[in-house]
């Protein structure tokens, strides 16, 4: 079973640039959300058949396969669905301060949103913990208008 690799052969460099593609994407639910965030509100769309509330919203219900358009407002607080504590960056290098990265289910919504939790030691974070959004002072209608979440 002793296998010896042979000598290294020639290698040439090449690139595939993923930024050159032209992706067609509607993003209507994203616009609905961002327009609401300008007023420090969170809006999504409810399915009339099953009642699922999506934030940000697709144009149809993924459970019922029907078109949906009923705009609803949900709370800017909710509970931690799951979380992780980042201690290294995308390439595996250690980062200076750990970051609590969470999936948060806002009250009134059935979907999870990604966000950072601050103001709590990471050892104390639990699934199901109540958190609220901390908004920036001057919202511009962007995802960065919620700066982070803190425990309620």
């Amino acid at each position: 079973m002793a296998f010896e690799m042979g000598p290294e052969t020639r290698q040439v460099q090449g690139t595939w640039d993923v930024t050159t593609y032209k992706y067609k994407i509607d993003g209507g639910g994203m616009k609905l959300l961002c327009d609401a965030m300008k007023e420090k509100k969170i809006r999504g769309i409810r399915c009339n058949e099953c009642g699922t509330v999506y934030v940000p919203a697709p144009t149809f219900c993924r459970k019922c396969h029907v078109d949906i358009d009923e705009v609803v407002e949900v709370e800017d607080s909710g509970e931690v669905g799951t979380f992780a504590v980042e201690m290294a960056d995308m390439r595996g290098n250690p980062i200076e301060k750990e970051r609590i990265s969470a999936q948060i289910k806002l009250d009134g919504a059935d979907t999870w949103l990604g966000g950072t939790i601050e103001g709590v030691d990471w050892h104390d974070v639990k699934i199901g913990m109540k958190v609220k959004a901390i908004w920036v002072d001057n919202p511009e209608g962007r995802l960065s208008d919620i700066d982070h979440f803190e425990p309620l």
Partner: protein
């Protein structure tokens, strides 16, 4: 539908980080040659070829056509399959369909990855690029973590969300992940076709840094270069061509809502829920005539890019009750000589040439059943029914195969 058997497997001589001595097609041909050697077949015996690897990972389009002469495909039907992490088993399932349907009698499934030549992070980014671009245009701080939607940690970050949820709902502790990791790495040390082959203790695992709590560096899989080939045949051909065969008696796959990548249209599924695993397993058990999987399944080969997943899959696939897998680990049931040997090969967690990873699961099951395991990880008890599992996509696609020592009864 006809019965289908695996009559032989061929691996590259090694699975390692970098095969600098061969190019992609030369590496693939090593596994093809091994499959011919192990079955005493020649290229003339093969009716059709299925071929699988990850799209874009090596920045290479149409690799199956570049490889055509290296896989003895000249003048033969050849199809490429690419379904993400499940690619290897999807490629074997495609071969299964061709034989079960009666279309062909002898089909070779070729699976591989040469990760050292590519960039898997670019390949993974390609999965969600349009959505990420929209999020970034709308103010998402992609890596910094301010605002909504930032997703640090890449694949490990998403797996950590899954691990946290799994621990919460099962009652297992982070130390159980360490223990499962040590068990599988130690199994891998006995497998000549494993990549990370060092006997490892719980303390060794616990000495590695956290990447994204609860997952440590020691909980993550390597990136490997390697290829695996399996030859599947009809029942009639198996009687003529092979002394031994392992039978593919159950086949299933299932998708659900993308649990980690629905960035702009609302994620509705817990990444640890994994409903497709339950659905696919139930279908495969029914097809194979398995009525009580907890009693009838003798071993499991599970797709685990991360060490918590072996425990999670045992529960989701119905091989134990929810919250029971870590207790089985504690009492030694998952050891090679235990009640339900789990990843005796060391799993994807120890060897990950991605396109081949979900093929190595049924390949290992077949070799265990035929008692042709090389190295020291042969399961001592007789294996009648084995479960092979593949996982991937956007965290939401599962393949299952039941491999047995006897063909399915009509």
């Amino acid at each position: 539908m006809r019965n289908v058997a695996i009559i032989g497997v061929g691996y590259t001589p090694v699975f390692v980080s970098k095969r600098k001595d061969v190019n992609i097609v030369e590496m693939i041909s090593e596994a093809v040659d091994a499959a011919f050697r192990n079955t005493n077949l020649t290229p003339d015996d093969i009716d059709s070829i299925t071929f699988g690897n990850m799209q874009t990972f090596e920045g290479l389009n149409l690799p199956h056509l570049w490889a055509a002469d290296h896989i003895s495909a000249l003048g033969k039907p050849t199809i490429r399959i690419s379904t993400g992490g499940t690619t290897g088993m999807s490629t074997l399932q495609a071969a299964y369909y061709q034989v079960a349907s009666g279309l062909y009698d002898v089909v070779m499934a070729v699976t591989w990855e040469k990760q050292s030549e590519g960039d898997s992070q670019v390949g993974l980014a390609g999965i969600v690029m349009p959505e990420v671009m929209v999020m970034v245009q709308n103010g998402m701080d992609l890596f910094g973590g301010r605002g909504i939607g930032g997703m640090g940690g890449g694949s490990t970050g998403a797996a950590s969300y899954q691990a946290t949820s799994y621990l919460h709902h099962s009652g297992a502790s982070p130390e159980h992940i360490d223990k499962m990791a040590a068990l599988e790495r130690t199994n891998a040390s006995k497998n000549p076709y494993a990549h990370l082959r060092k006997a490892t203790t719980v303390e060794d695992i616990q000495a590695t840094p956290f990447i994204s709590w609860p997952l440590r560096y020691g909980h993550t899989c390597p990136t490997s270069d390697g290829a695996t080939v399996a030859i599947v045949v009809s029942e009639e051909k198996a009687a003529k061509l092979a002394d031994q065969a392992a039978w593919i008696n159950g086949v299933a796959c299932c998708a659900s809502d993308p649990t980690t990548a629905n960035l702009i249209e609302g994620q509705i599924t817990d990444p640890a829920e994994q409903q497709p695993a339950r659905i696919a397993a139930e279908k495969a058990f029914a097809m194979a005539g398995i009525k009580n999987p907890r009693k009838e399944i003798d071993m499991a080969e599970l797709y685990n890019g991360f060490a918590h997943q072996s425990l999670m899959w045992l529960e989701k696939l119905g091989l134990c009750k929810e919250g029971e897998a870590h207790k089985m680990l504690d009492k030694g049931a998952l050891d090679i000589d235990g009640e339900l040997p789990t990843n005796a090969s060391g799993g994807v967690f120890s060897t990950n040439a991605i396109g081949a990873s979900a093929m190595n699961r049924p390949a290992e099951c077949a070799l265990q059943i035929m008692r042709k395991i090389e190295g020291g990880h042969q399961i001592p008890k007789k294996v009648r029914n084995a479960l092979a599992h593949g996982w991937g996509g956007l965290f939401q696609y599962v393949t299952v195969m039941i491999i047995s020592d006897e063909p399915r009864k009509a």
